[in-house]
Amino acid sequence: MSTFPPRAESQVSRRQAFKIGGITVSLAALVAACGDDREGDTAPGRVGYAPPVTDPPDYTVDDAVRLRTASSLEYSVIAVYERALESGIVEPSSDELVSRLIDNHQASADQLAALTDAEGGVPWECTNPWLDDRLIEPVLQAIQSSDDPARDLLRFAVALETLAASTHQVFAVELTAPAAKTFALETATSESRQSAALVAIDRGPDGYISPEVYGEGVPTDVEGLPNIYSITSRFGSVGQAELIVGPADENGSRESFNLQTPAENSFIYNELEPTC
């Protein structure tokens, strides 16, 4: 069985992070309390280590940008499915389904490319670099080390299909060209079907309707993970979604990731050059 490539950045466990953070905060408070006749930068102070804040680029967001961004999402999802098939995590009985999902996303990407071209843009045929770095690679690494990679891969697939559907739902309203708007809505519906089908095929009637629909909490499975459902709300949500995957630590906690529809920091602007 092949493996997903390792994550590039160094690893610091949450427990270590708390310890380091606690010491840093204590020292910072001590220094602040002793400070007198302070000079220098008046910008808000920063405690601990965090990447420097960068402003999103000041580029135009037009139909072509939204269509290129939608394309990038399709290619990112395709790449996940292809790597999943290559990894051997996918059960042979699910090969046909996964292959069909790849075909569906490729067909969407092809149509999005044609629409981009029609809007005077340059079709984007690569994955979304921002999404790859901040979501897909970390999640795949967590799945790789999970106690149940197949379970986590299914959860990731459901979350990605929902994210893609939400993105197209948003773009259907924001796009201006009628053909692009209609296709975005068709794709939002198709990918909603795909998300729902993954759950329905795996869980059957137990996974049809989430108690969230009734305003109740989501029950957990024997591993302590929230159950997944085909219907999680009465209206299509475009809000942030949480994905929990990976191995449990000594406290039974697993890594959590937030999925958000693309925004200014993850758009594929017309000025960006292909990354593939």
Partner: protein, 200 residues
């Protein structure tokens, strides 16, 4: 239509009966791209005319699911019928909220056309009838989508269409055909006629 043997179809009824002259004129005018920032936020009068018909269709769907519940469905089929009926009532209420139109009239013609198919305690028969309804609603709203002038109309309709797709998928599984991927992902659809008589 036989759920098991159905082939993807493209037959769609004309929208002429659905929208009427005023609606068609509005839809034609809106076939031209409009920057989202230039679009009005709240539903315009042409939007309201179409949304009122959509509201009546949603109430008819709610009644159809109610009939299925009362016909004696059990277990998962019963829960599906109850929740999906409530969903359609919520969509009618949402259309009422954004248009100011009372949600007290249903599309009687549409209801009469389908009531016998929904009034069943047979889960598979119910699932097939409801699967067709959800797929047809999704196709109808998608067809109408670019005709809506306002951001709010489009936002609400988009949030409903994706649920039509999810509900159809659940119903395909309930009918036992979720292994037929063409039916699940590329189902046959027919545009629903919106205006043909009303009941209350």
């Amino acid at each position: 239509m036989d759920l098991v043997s159905a082939e993807p179809a493209t037959s769609r009824r004309s929208l002429i009966g659905a929208l009427g002259a005023a609606g068609l004129a509005s839809a034609a005018a809106l076939a031209v791209a409009r920057p989202a920032s230039a679009a009005p936020y709240s539903p315009t009068e042409p939007d309201k005319a179409v949304l009122e018909q959509a509201l009546q269709l949603e109430l008819a769907a709610k009644l159809l699911y109610r009939d299925a519940v009362e016909a004696g469905l059990t277990d998962a089929a019963l829960e599906v019928a109850q929740v999906f009926g409530d969903n359609h009532e919520a969509y009618a209420d949402q259309f009422a909220a954004i248009t100011g139109i009372s949600a007290d009239t249903y599309n009687e013609t549409f209801y009469d056309e389908l009531k016998d198919e929904f009034a069943t305690s047979d889960a598979a028969q119910f699932a097939q009838a409801a699967w067709e309804l959800e797929n047809n609603f999704a196709a109808t709203y998608t067809e109408l989508f670019t005709g809506f002038e306002s951001v709010e109309s489009q936002t609400v309709v988009a949030s409903i269409v994706v649920l039509n797709g999810r509900m159809a998928t659940v119903l395909a599984d309930l009918a036992g055909v979720s292994d037929q991927l063409n039916l699940v992902f590329d189902p046959p659809t027919e545009i629903v006629t919106l205006t043909e008589g009303a009941g209350s």
